[in-house]
């Protein structure tokens, strides 16, 4: 259930002078340029430093601390930056009693999550914190929460795969929210501005989907002995997985660079290596795993046509434990999406999870330059297999 939108300080207990980033733990020196740029921009946004040089000194001296979103209960797209004053959506897994969080999606182009850092980025972040977040929070509380499982299931039937295509889910969310926003907003101008922002951002729902996926998978980290992958995440340097039977331990390997299509004038030479916590949606059977549900997206990410989309979903079925009981694909006779990545099956077959992703420019400040697909590195799963065997006294 999507239940609220409140500042990260309140939702996560996030302290000042802490910057959360995507992926497994990452030292400043090893961070790629878009992640470094976004960290410095977030520090300026919070007012902890006046410029990037001052912000970098705070990080290098340890005055500002870095930590993964996943260690704080959040999932962050691309650079994944979260600081205390940023509003976050609150998603509740009611049967298990846990919550997960994600920021409000900023839109496309020059945005913090893609490493853009100019004044327009900071201005948008301030509007999100001062106006959009509080409006969304009140509306969600008045609505009594929104059922995300039903919304995601419906969006899949409308052609989304919930990673690189969220136009149906964003529209469904807007449809559900608007009456409550209209009733609770202080003036029509505020509603109009927020409605325009949501309506102009086809990826608005992505962050909500990520928080929902994290809320669903986090309880799996307590299942002793289980070989299912509970987390996949990238920080632009390393790809990391966490496995249900091995608690919060990360298994990492150098991250791959996405293959895809580029907005003019960019090309593969401008691409940053894979980054972001958004692969959490593949962990629950969405994104690349649900490619067959989204003929529109398979072309957008440069992965072919409908036949290729079906082949990809079927291939992901080779490395998963079952089919999702609620997330169903019309083009596959309503079969469920493949879900529950099994470390054993990945190592046995050599088939690695396929992730749909946005592509950030490697040059700091560029923003998004394209969209594509990327494979998780096999080495993460090989390490996890050996750890699982050791944990059971078999190695």
């Amino acid at each position: 259930m999507l239940v609220d939108c409140v500042p990260a300080r309140e939702a996560l207990g996030l302290a000042d002078r802490t910057v959360l980033h995507s992926g497994p733990p990452l030292a400043w020196e090893r961070a790629c340029p878009p992640v470094q740029t976004a960290i410095l921009c977030a520090i300026r946004y919070e007012g902890w430093a006046a410029d990037d040089a001052g912000a970098q000194r705070l990080v290098e001296s340890g005055t500002v601390k870095l930590a993964p979103c996943h260690h704080a209960g959040a999932a962050g797209p691309m650079t994944g930056i979260v600081t205390a004053s940023m509003p976050v959506f609150v998603v509740e897994n009611r049967p298990r009693g846990n919550r997960a969080f994600a920021t409000i999606n900023e839109g496309l182009g020059k945005v913090l999550r893609f490493g853009a850092n100019d004044e327009s980025v900071v201005t948008r972040l301030r509007w999100l914190a001062r106006e959009a977040g509080p409006l969304l929070g009140v509306a969600l509380r008045v609505a009594g929460g929104l059922d995300l499982r039903a919304l995601v299931a419906q969006a899949l039937r409308m052609g989304d795969e919930l990673h690189q295509r969220n136009v149906a889910a964003s529209s469904l969310l807007a449809r559900a929210l608007m009456p409550h926003l209209a009733r609770t907003a202080p003036d029509t101008g505020a509603v109009a501005q927020l409605a325009e922002f949501i309506g102009g951002n086809d990826q608005f729902f992505l962050n909500v989907a990520m928080a929902a996926a994290k809320a669903a998978t986090d309880p799996c980290l307590d299942v002793a002995g289980a070989t299912m992958v509970a987390t996949m995440a990238r920080n632009g340097t390393d790809f990391g997985i966490r496995v249900a039977g091995l608690g919060g331990r990360w298994f990492t390997a150098p991250v791959n660079t996405p293959q895809g299509l580029y907005f003019p004038p960019y090309s593969a030479a401008d691409a940053n290596p894979d980054v972001g916590d958004s692969a959490i949606v593949e962990t629950v059977g969405l994104g690349g795993f649900a490619m067959a549900a989204s003929p529109a997206v398979v072309g957008f990410v440069g992965a072919g046509g409908l036949r290729d989309a079906i082949r990809i979903t079927e291939e992901m079925g080779e490395i998963t434990l079952g089919e999702h009981p609620h997330f169903r694909i019309p083009t596959l006779d309503d079969r469920g999406t493949p879900v529950g990545i099994d470390v054993r099956k990945v190592v046995e077959t050599g088939i690695t999870p396929l992730i749909n992703t946005g592509i950030a420019g490697r040059k700091p400040g560029t923003g998004q330059i394209g969209a594509g697909v990327v494979r998780a590195p096999l080495a993460c799963f090989e390490q996890a297999l050996e750890a699982l065997a050791r944990a059971r006294g078999l190695a």
């Binding site: 070989t227 054993r344 190592v347 046995e348 077959t349 050599g350 090989e382 297999l385 050996e386 699982l388 065997a389 059971r392 078999l394 190695a395």
Partner: protein, 64 residues
């Protein structure tokens, strides 16, 4: 490859192939007009004997 097909023709049978593993073999036969069913297969764990052993032990424990 043409001689191979001739052999089957002389034996009075039509050549139909199930190809296991390397897909390029299937593609070559398809290009010659030979009916071929390709089965995607590779040795477990890419042929790494230690990882294959661990997989087997984990599967035995889980009864799968």
């Amino acid at each position: 490859m043409a001689d191979f097909r001739d052999l089957f023709t002389r034996l009075g049978g039509e050549i139909r192939v199930i190809n296991l593993g390397l897909e390029s073999f299937a593609e070559t036969l398809e290009a010659m007009g030979v009916p071929v069913l390709h089965v995607q297969w590779s040795p477990p764990a890419g042929g790494d004997p230690e990882r294959a052993r661990l997989l087997s032990l984990l599967d035995d424990e889980d009864g799968s």
